[in-house]
Symmetry: C2
């Protein structure tokens, strides 16, 4: 396998091992905090955060792109959140085939309660251990990789759809 770079250099290998450890352990840590504090996982949090920023609701397919999940996954998760009264589904006014997802008043209260603890956890796990320069490097590195692993999200972000829960 001559041209095709059969294996990684020792530097690449160290980076790879640490990256694999990161992508395995960081979601686990975020899930653990949210599960203990609020009984939801990080995917459900992202969905709620996205819905918080869209008072008119989001179509299920847009919510799926937004939270980086399949249509099926979003549908199942919406069912769980709906049972808890945190979200609501209505027909889409524009397209009769589509369904529009909304956050409820109770869901909003829930997020106001949960978000600060989650943000603290994000700081503790990531930003507190990085320098400002490293935060910039991380943004560019993750941006490059995501271009390949999640091109649709990459495009959404480049087009200015910035999904942020503003906690206030």
């Amino acid at each position: 396998v001559p041209d095709d770079a059969p294996w990684l250099s020792s530097e690449e290998l160290r980076a790879w091992i640490l990256l694999m450890t990161l992508v395995e352990s960081l979601p686990a840590a975020l899930d653990a905090q949210l599960r203990a504090a609020a009984g939801i996982n990080h995917f459900e949090y992202q969905m709620l955060a996205g819905l918080c920023d869209h008072p008119d609701g989001l179509r299920m397919s847009d919510l799926a792109a937004f939270a980086t999940g399949s249509a099926s996954r979003v549908s199942h998760a919406m069912g769980r959140l709906e049972r808890r009264g945190l979200v609501r589904r209505t027909p889409d006014p524009d397209d009769p085939r589509a369904v529009r997802a909304h956050i409820t008043a109770e869901g909003r209260r829930f997020m106001v309660e949960v978000a600060p603890g989650h943000v603290r956890e994000a700081r503790r796990l990531v930003f507190d251990v990085l320098t400002p320069a490293q935060v910039g490097q991380l943004e560019r590195i993750a941006g490059r990789v995501v271009t390949v692993t999640a091109p649709d999200v990459s495009r959404l972000l480049r087009e200015g759809m910035v999904p942020a829960f503003d906690a206030g």
Copy 2:
């Protein structure tokens, strides 16, 4: 919430969104490639890679630390791989309570076949889109975060236990 930095700056937020997209999409992409090519997931691959580098086998608990998973997860995964003839379990010669996991000859042939495609995928998704400088930045950034999210792995790596499958 004055002192406690209630939310993220816009730079931190961009980095966070991209990082979340990364940790969600990269494992999914690696799982997809391995599942299509070899019928295993990335966690099972990591276990097999670790066992490849240890001809005398590894205790289950060491294998768990190594692959960043719980004892239960490793036990279930070993059961699946054992059914396919890729690994073997023997009593540990030193500690009668412990179990030692080994890769079989068939498992070794399997990895020789599967590893190149997986490495190509790692290159395609990560290293091909990063500069050498960014690979170094990534190593340091991931190393910092992992210190918090997976301190045990961090310690193992610092102590020189470098788990690499050398493909040859």
